[in-house]
Amino acid sequence: MRLRNPGQTVTFTFDGKPVQGVPGEPVAAALLANGIRLMGRSFKYHRPRGVMTAGSEEPNALVTVGRGAAQDPNIRATVLEVSDGLEVFSQNAWPSLRHDALAVNDLLSPFLGAGFYYKTFMWPASFWEKLYEPVIRRAAGLGRLSGQASADCYEKAFAFCDLLVIGAGPAGLMAALTAGRAGVDVILADEDSAMGGRLLREVEDVDGRPAAAWVADVLAQLRALPNVRLMPRTTVTGAYDQGTYGALERVAAAGAPVECFWRIVAKRSVLCAGALERPIAFPDNDRPGIMLAGAVRAYVNRWGVAPGRSVTVFGNNDDAHRTARDLAAAGIKIAGLIDARPDVQVTADYPVFTGGSVTATAGRRGLSSITVAHQGGTRVIQTDCLAISGGWNPSVHLTCHMNGRPRWRDDIAAFVPTPDAIPGMAVAGACNGVFETAGCLREGAEVAAAIARDLGFTAEVTLPVAEARAYAIAPLWEIPGKGRKWVDFQNDVTTKDIALSAQENMRSVEHMKRYTTQGMAPDQGKSSNVLALAVLADLTGRGIPETGTTTFRPPFVPVGIAAMGAGGQGKGFAPTRLMTSHHATVAARAPMIEAGLWYRPSYFPLEGEVSWRQSCDREVGYARNAVGVCDVSTLGKIDVQGPDAAALLDFVYTNRMSTLKMGRVRYGLMLREDGFVMDDGTAARLGPDHFVITTTTAAAGQVMRHMEFASQVLRPDLDARVLSVTDHWAQFAVAGPRAQVLLNTVLDDQISNEDWPFMACGTVGIGGVTGRLFRISFSGETAFEIAVPARYGESLFRQLVAQARTLGGGPYGMEALNVLRIEKGLLTHAELHGRTTAFDLGLAGMVSAQKDCIGQAAASRPGLVDPARERLVGLRAVEEGRRLTAGAHLFAKDAKAVTANDQGYVTSACYSPTLDCYLGLAFLKNGPDRHGEVIRMVDHLRGVDTLAEVCHPVFFDPEGGRARG
């Protein structure tokens, strides 16, 4: 029922039926205004439930928004703002909210208490996955995901400030205003759509004006300060180390990202998060229409919505009376005020029952009456809304995110924050246990002024006149008597579950939580935890401070993975690195494959080719018989310069680089300090104190980090500088018998075999551009790598490919590259996979014993030079038409293919068009001593079982004559 003319309205739907709402109000307010109290079904027992709170702590009124791919479950109707065309659906009910088939669970409740699942579904174990879990999952739980990819957009962002004020109620507003006026750089974040906190929900004056008018005035002042940033609809979700805070913003603009997850870094913060009301445990306290008293008042005062026509109030503290008074003043019938305290003096023109309590409620899908025990008798009061207040809990959550524990205050029967629980965070207002407006305003201003002064500003405290009133409470947790008394409404936990937990010796609050699931729902027990531990304390006779709280953990409100991972989908998942030849390669219809962050061509298909193998075999032929061109820019290139450049390389490579002549290239091996191979590559000496080294594509970042580690941490005595030049140079391999002919078509000065012998390097001119030429080979053929500054890369690639075609060759991709190097027994990270040593690879001779290098000491450990280790061999398929596969395991010819008989594994395999045979590289126990032996290769995954002959890993041109030309 609306108490005032709503003016402009919007129309949304609830379960398909149109509902009128007022812009700015939450869906829960609009539903109440339209007499809809039943908003959802509960998690476990499918009990009918209505809205209980008026904030983000709402346990009951969870709804699904939108449909299809845009469907978003478990949205709290108390924070979801109405808008035209918004589609809202109740959840956890079938076939309809009013007639829910699984409400049968409620009848079974005597069997479904705490621990039920643990005890019942233990046997037989195999039934769990197939039967129990699917059935339980269908019956229990909250909203459902659509299973479709959502097109909604999310954001994350960073913000920095001197002072973060968390919450914009009376304390927060005064904190922001005081610090803002002093010149402090302030962020004021509040989770509501409108700032003002409790002042928007109360009937009271501040500075001689209605509180809401004072709020509007303060907000105008704050907006006028350039050093103050207002962040409405933003919930601070966590407090982290070194002044970092997480915050979730619900973005209101249409077409904008749905939510933004902020990381706010603040020198200081003030928590002004207010307080949350708690319920009382009495029988059937969960019917739609039973709400927290402060929430009932909020719906009336702020949104002009009466949650009922005949309202009763039940509480144990002064604040409950305020609800009755405000509602009566708004013209709503108060059917009764029940205060559990016997000695309270009240004058009111509605029935007051001091020393009374609510002992029963009635109404199937909504409250119709309550039973009140009073002065030894009981009476039934007809009511459609019961406002309950068990007292207020300061919102201490954020102060506990770094292991802090709150302390108990008897006078307000609540936990308050322990000072300095979060470095740099102060606390002010209701979240610090101050439950009256004047005190909140004063504490907010004073705390902010002190912080401003600490930060070097001059701050003044100017306080508005406001209401100061005492808050008295007598603790009341559970009303004696039969019937289920709900504590955690979201997870369907009752006082009986807590009693069972204590009875079964789960007496620690942390055990009770896990046994009953108390506080483990998305609301994390915001309304219920203190009630639950008080009930436990009563049962165990230990008292509340001794019982303590469970651990408060971030986030304060649920944060969607979509918001936390915003920007990380699709192309945002990882950077894409593109070669200069990328566009020409894609235009040639080459399928691209990922190599680290790079994209490289798999093969270049020609018209009429139907399989990758055809293309690959042809491209291998280019290199073996004519000339092939391949973009190798993705290999890491590191420039090493300085008086001690050679010494640094001697330290990071196993072999000596200091003896390398100018204008020459040498193959090099790098170890990790534990003796295993990290990477291989080449070092080229461009000058006495100048080298450029290459790394494999995937390990470039790791090698750069390793080089910096060696230079800065292990050998700061060496004067050498390392710098990545990978992106500056576009580099192309030109391989094959006609490589030199091809190069001479693009080089300014012709080269010959005499000037450019195997492993030579130097500077060349290409159309007037200075480039570099390296005579190195990863194919076993006469081969060069030619490098030009990246701006010329695409142009050079196109010309090399065009010229190669006239010579009977062309471009080749990763597949052909792989075949060429396997035929030659050359290594990649398939072999250098982090568990192999130089010894395993047959490269022990490359580890110089004459000098110290990273990994040398550890590589000489006896276990790493044991001949029985799995060591590199070649494999040649011996059965006609049977392939070898990478990942397959090796066994003695007649052994059973079981783990105990495992002799090794295949790391690389291919069909060699050059040798017309399947080849493999493998690690085999005692491998080099077994050349000539026929062994069994089994690939359990692909179902391959075949024989192969062990051989030397260099299959083709073992003398290496072709590369030397």
Partner: protein, 180 residues
């Protein structure tokens, strides 16, 4: 004989405008990194003064003399936009094609960068000619304030398209909020 054509780092991805923010390519013909050898920082600075008319700026700063800039780019390293000869004093490395550089400008530029860069870029703390190495999304970048509403972003050249992609997403999100 080859005839090589030079191409820009961003292809046709720039200029890009979304809302009130614009990205344009910054072209510098030459870039050389300068990493002074031990104890040579003063001598390097003097060499730069003689050859280019500017000295090495402090850590986190950029300095300009006419069109020539000298900018700190990391641990004991600077970058200059003109050739220099510093034999025996510093490792000098041609990086002319190693980076893709763009300038991003507009009223909402700080809001756009706040979506991607974990840095305090407020004008009071990060002033004109302040420069930092950081991350933009997942990309390692050098970021420099060039004006009240203008920043320059340098990224490894091979990542140019990713830089534009990430900025475009952030620009779109900020623009969709209207004036926020």
């Amino acid at each position: 004989m080859a005839r090589l054509i030079a191409l820009g780092a961003f292809g046709d991805l720039l200029p890009l405008q979304v809302g009130d923010v614009t990205c344009t390519e910054v072209v510098r013909e030459t870039l050389f990194s300068v990493a002074p050898y031990r104890g040579q920082q003063k001598a390097v600075s003097a060499g730069l003064k003689t050859q280019l008319g500017l000295t090495l700026p402090a850590v986190g700063r950029r300095r300009a003399a006419g069109d020539v800039i000298c900018q700190w780019i990391g641990h004991d390293a600077w970058i200059v936009s003109a050739p220099v000869t510093l034999d025996g004093l510093a490792a000098v490395t041609d990086q002319s094609d190693g980076y893709a550089t763009l300038e991003i400008t507009g009223a909402s530029v700080e809001a756009v960068l706040a979506r991607l860069v974990p840095l305090d870029l407020r004008s009071a703390t990060f002033k004109v000619n302040h420069t930092a190495r950081s991350l933009l999304g997942h990309l390692p970048v050098s970021i420099t304030r060039t004006g009240p509403q203008a920043f320059e972003v340098m990224v490894m050249r091979s990542m140019a398209a990713s830089l534009v992609h990430d900025l475009q997403e952030a620009m779109t999100g900020v623009a969709a909020r209207g004036s926020a």
